[in-house]
């Protein structure tokens, strides 16, 4: 297992306070838990992954994600079982969309 933590400062988009979970920790898949947290407008992402040695790819995927959403005061926790970058991006977007939908 490998644990990676990314933090992106100065986000602009707030999410509702209710936690949101999407995905399943199964082979080639992951679960994404989105939580509100007081992080001085930052978004913090902690990844626990079964696949070791992919930190640079994770970093690229997380930077893309942050560029898309610019989240503020959000803590994201990921349990990963070898998902591909495309699946990771998809699940992250699903989680944020589900979180936004839950308010309306």
């Amino acid at each position: 297992m490998e644990t990676l933590v990314f933090r992106f400062e100065n986000g602009t988009r707030q999410l509702p306070r209710n936690p949101q979970l999407v995905g399943v920790v199964s082979s080639g898949n992951l679960e994404v838990l989105v939580n509100h947290a007081d992080l001085q407008s930052a978004c913090e992402i902690e990844i626990n992954t079964a696949a070791i040695g992919f930190a640079t790819i994770w970093e690229a995927v997380m930077k893309d994600f942050n560029a898309r959403w610019q989240l503020a005061n959000v803590r994201i926790a990921i349990n990963d079982m070898g998902a591909t970058p495309a699946v990771v991006s998809l699940r992250l977007d699903q989680a944020i969309e589900a979180s936004l939908e839950a308010t309306t």
Binding site: P19, L21, V24, V25, E31, A77, N79
Partner: protein
Amino acid sequence: MNSYIEATARQRIHALIDGFTEILPPAKSWTSPHLPQLNAPVSFDDGVIIGIGQLGGHRVFAAAQEGGFMGGAVGEVHGAKLVGLMRRAVIDKPAAVILLAESGGVRLHEANAGLIAVSEVMRAVFAVRAAGIPVIVINGGSNGCFGGMGIVARCTNAVIMSEEARLAMSGPEVIETANGVEEFDSKDRALVWRTTGGKHRYLMGDCQMLVADDVAEFKAAAIAAIDALTGKEAGSVSLGLAGLEYDQSMMAQRIAAFGDCHEPMEIWEKLGIAEPEKIAMLDASAFRELVAEQLTHADKNQNRAPAQEMSAAVDAQINQDQQVYWRQVAAQLFPQGHTITEAADFLSGTAKVNGITISVIGTTTHTPIGVEIALRQAQAVLRTVRDFPLRPILLMVDTQGQRLRHRDEMLGINSYMAHLGKCLELARQSGHKIIALVYDQALSGGFITSGMMADACYALPAATIRVMGLPAMARITKVSEERLIELAKDNPVFAPGPSNYERMGGIEAVWEDDLATQLLSAFDNADPVDQRIATGATRGGRSMAQKVVNAVLSEPVS
């Protein structure tokens, strides 16, 4: 049409249960403490979602196992969430408990905890039923319902399946590995589904409702089951002697009628299906219509047949050889004498303990538990309940586990094991004290419905207790044997043996000497309430289970 099999557990439970409120939701992060030690990923809900909601206007408790995570297998936290939900149900009294089962059984990464947990779930299910609340299983996931959860499913009031689902004890791959491809070709998917799939289980009576792979159909069937089980016409949802004696005779008939069959289609033909080869192609509703039309055997089953004596019991080979190990143990246990005899690896008889007669039921020579011997044990338990009220029962455990045969799976071995568990539970509820002693071997599935159904289970120091050996566990977890032994020093979940089970509460105590005195005090101290989770917490062998149960019981839910 909204596929059930394609949905995740969380999607399923929200689709089935109206206004579902989750208890211990993922944000609370109740994860397995054991998986990180093996370098395996955790899940925020440990693979099971539990909570409260409405179904067909009834207030229900519900749980859904996620087959994608570790095959839905039961670990310490996962099992404790289920036990906690059942215990809360006994207090809160919902109309029903709905279990969306999808599980390979015991989670091999935390095998000792999983094995104990599955037996705790069984007893918790019985406690819910004893409180007059029906428990209903929905089984429609791609991983099926296997191992200990296959037994749990048959401990409930009703099982609802789709054709795609499977219900069994041992997986086809396990059987093929143990006994060869000619025993069970796990790659023959059609054979696998004929043997374990929903249609076969429905025809055999191990599944009460068969529906299409559609969330709405599962929901309608679950509502119908609640209405049928709680309606004015409904009988008792708890266990009773008459019902279990009826089951006993049905299960004996099943072996007599189909025990010689080699292929499920032969059974279907004997049941009266004119063209069994066409069964596989029918959709759920066409299948139900055909069965209603052609199933003559089911009508016959309605006539209560006299319980048949097991044929093997007739050619009993009484072995008086004092060298036989169980006789040595019995001599130490019962200085006042006993009448225990051995017949085809099955032990039964009576013994005197402090002047009181007890029933002794057990197995020997590490015999694998197949359908016949499970039924023989059940029969001995039922006889004690019927003819000797309050007589204490001692279970002498020596088994290498469930029998790994295609025939046993075809006949529904998980149902036979569940039946044995029900009979022991009936004995307990009828006031019989039940003590188990692992005097030689207790392995995996064979242990769940014998020793682990007792009020308390004890072991001799040299006994072997495990789900699987260390080499096999090392292969599955990809952690070396040396490392597992090292880890087991601080965490008994990782290595076999009586002392590890004792630390976890699964074994009450290991008897070093003076077995007769120990047995006497075991009966004196027998407690009909399952205390193993609390014991495991006190002894420091299971750090999480009690906390999880407490959290489930105390979490406020609107």
